[in-house]
């Protein structure tokens, strides 16, 4: 609750800062202060269990340690994002305050979609996430790619919203309790009513779209590629894991009891996602676009939480979200400093910028899922969840085979950095200040610490 209110409020503050403050850097500092406050407020609620402003939400919002810790992960990652890439936000255009305002609105949407208890708030939350993102995607107005990405994102996003609404309508229609509350859906005895089934499929489709699961992922590569890189970083991490969290929250609370009736859908989507994400990423030449496919591939792994629908999966999702967000935000921060976004652009980086190359390596290893990185722990929990689920073991084997393939493209960058040399300057050293390096090192340290002792984070869940 704290998070929802404060992020909205701070978004408005940021909005006005754009109007009243002429300096380009001040909004960034304001934003950092805001996100810290947001984090703290959320932590307070996590700790005390009580919101500062107690509003009667008529049970439309439900907070618990689980979704609050997820929000903590999201806000923490956003803080890291602001610190690492805040300066790059300033470079996108002149509306710096507005950009940050939109990001705070997105966070408001994230907070909603993490705590909703009714389909209405799910819908509004997702829309509050989406609409600012359409804008951020197109924020590089002179860049045709950015324009194109914005329109594609907008059209397909609205399309999926329509599908989601149709799903909600059918769920409501099929729900003999005549309610939008996700914990108040009458699933009937045995096989679920057909209307619920139709609505469920439509919801799966639209949520898959939001988390860019195949075959509803088509917007992802183009949009991630076209948007200003700094927003790609934000979109592909924080927003994406929020989508996942909403996905899991919705299906766990609404349809968790009859999971065996819809698991096959998730299996199909998971396999398609793993296949398309991992395989297509292999051939990409642009690191940015490769990261887009990589995010699809990672989504495939996160889908295992939905496939499993048990405690391991939920814990794993939080862990995965943290690992994936921190690593990706960190890696995008490095991409942003590169002169050349192709893989060749990374050639010889280890020689020129050993610290940055090292942290990049840790991020990539985490994304690959090498032990002692948080990424491994995330994958490990996911696999554990999937195995415990006890059905369709072969899916797990498919998943790890694709995990092995994922090493292929992540390691291409490591190879380029360490084992190839180049005369080109990979990074303008003007851009690289010690503070940036320290922040990268901190991010890498977070990855390693979570990799070694994930219970630091998981401890919150059972606060």
């Amino acid at each position: 609750m704290n998070a929802i209110i404060f992020s909205a409020v701070w978004g408005i503050v940021m909005m006005f800062s754009g109007v009243f403050i002429k300096s380009k850097t001040t909004p960034r500092y304001l934003a950092i202060i805001g996100i810290i406050l947001l984090f703290v407020l959320n932590a307070v609620q996590l700790n005390s269990g009580k919101a500062l402003i107690d509003i009667d939400t008529h049970d439309m919002i439900r907070t618990n340690s689980f979704n609050l810790s997820f929000l903590a992960v999201v806000f923490g990652s956003t803080l890291l994002f602001f610190l690492l890439s805040g300066r790059d936000v300033e470079k996108v255009g002149e509306h710096v305050g507005e950009y940050f305002a939109l990001i705070f609105f997105v966070l408001c949407g994230v907070a909603l979609s993490a705590t909703f208890n009714t389909l209405l708030l799910l819908f509004i939350g997702i829309e509050i996430i989406s609409i600012p993102l359409y804008i951020l995607t197109g924020s590089d107005k002179r860049n045709l790619k950015s324009n194109e990405a914005a329109l594609k994102y907008f059209l397909m996003g609205s399309f999926s919203t329509g599908i989601m609404l149709m799903g909600i309508a059918f769920i409501y229609g099929g729900n003999s309790n005549a309610s939008f509350f996700i914990n108040n859906i009458d699933l009937g005895q045995g096989k679920m009513p057909v209307m619920i089934a139709v609505g469920l499929v439509l919801l799966v489709i639209s949520m898959s779209f939001k988390v860019s699961a195949a075959p509803f992922h088509f917007w992802t590569p183009d949009v991630y590629d076209g948007s200003p890189t700094v927003f790609t970083s934000f979109m592909s991490t924080i927003v994406k894991v929020a989508g996942f969290f909403a996905f899991v929250r919705l299906f766990e609370n609404a349809f968790g009891k009859i999971q065996d009736q819809w698991q096959m859908l998730i299996v199909v989507i998971t396999i398609a996602t793993l296949l398309i994400g991992n395989v297509t990423a292999v051939f990409q030449q642009s690191v940015k676009r490769m990261m887009a496919y990589s995010s699809i591939a990672q989504a495939g792994f996160m889908l295992l939480a939905l496939f499993a629908m048990n405690d391991w999966g939920k814990e794993g999702l939080v862990l995965y979200a943290a690992a994936y967000s921190v690593a990706t935000v960190g890696f995008f921060a490095i991409i942003l400093k590169m002169n050349d976004y192709t893989i060749e652009g990374f050639n010889g980086l280890a020689k020129q910028q050993p610290v940055i190359a090292l942290t990049a390596t840790i991020f990539l290893l985490s994304l690959t899922g090498i032990p002692l990185t948080a990424g491994f722990m995330g994958k490990f929990y996911m696999l554990m969840a999937a195995v415990e689920n006890g059905q369709n073991y072969w899916l797990v084997i498919v998943a790890v085979i694709f995990a092995a393939i994922s090493a292929y493209y992540y390691f291409r960058i490591i190879q380029a950095m360490y084992f190839k040399s180049s005369d080109q300057v990979a990074m303008d050293s003007v851009e690289i200040n010690p503070r940036f390096k320290i922040l990268l090192i901190i991010s890498a340290a977070i990855i390693l610490i979570l990799g070694i002792y994930p219970e630091l984070l998981l401890g919150w869940l059972y606060h």
Partner: protein
């Protein structure tokens, strides 16, 4: 009326919207088709609300049946916001390319 009639109607409208998205290339028309889809949903929602109102459950609490209509209201709200953003994007694109043909949007691919 049987609810099936409304389901058929709104699904038909919905499908027409989908087909429109599939076949039309003018971004504005595509967007209008999406609006049509939303309207189909709205109609269905209202129909469902009245369906529940007819059934026993809703009699206990009158609000239950209002829920769906409130939901429709919110859909309209969101649609309005979406339209403003969407049209802004289309206009921006038009300013840069002098075209709203979505098939020309293929700088980003593969």
């Amino acid at each position: 009326m049987d609810i099936k009639a409304y389901i058929i109607l709104s699904l038909t409208l919905f499908t027409i919207g989908i087909i429109g998205v599939l076949v039309r290339r003018n971004a504005i028309i595509v967007f209008m088709c999406i609006e049509l889809m939303l309207n189909a949903v709205n109609l269905l929602m209202v129909a469902f609300s009245k369906m529940h109102a007819a059934s026993a459950v809703a009699k206990a609490s009158v609000n239950y049946a209002s829920d769906a209509q409130i939901f429709v209201f919110f859909i309209m709200v969101v649609a309005a916001a979406e339209v403003s953003v969407g049209l802004a994007i289309i206009v921006m694109l038009y300013r840069n390319t002098h075209s709203v043909d979505i098939n020309f949007l293929n700088r980003l691919k593969n």
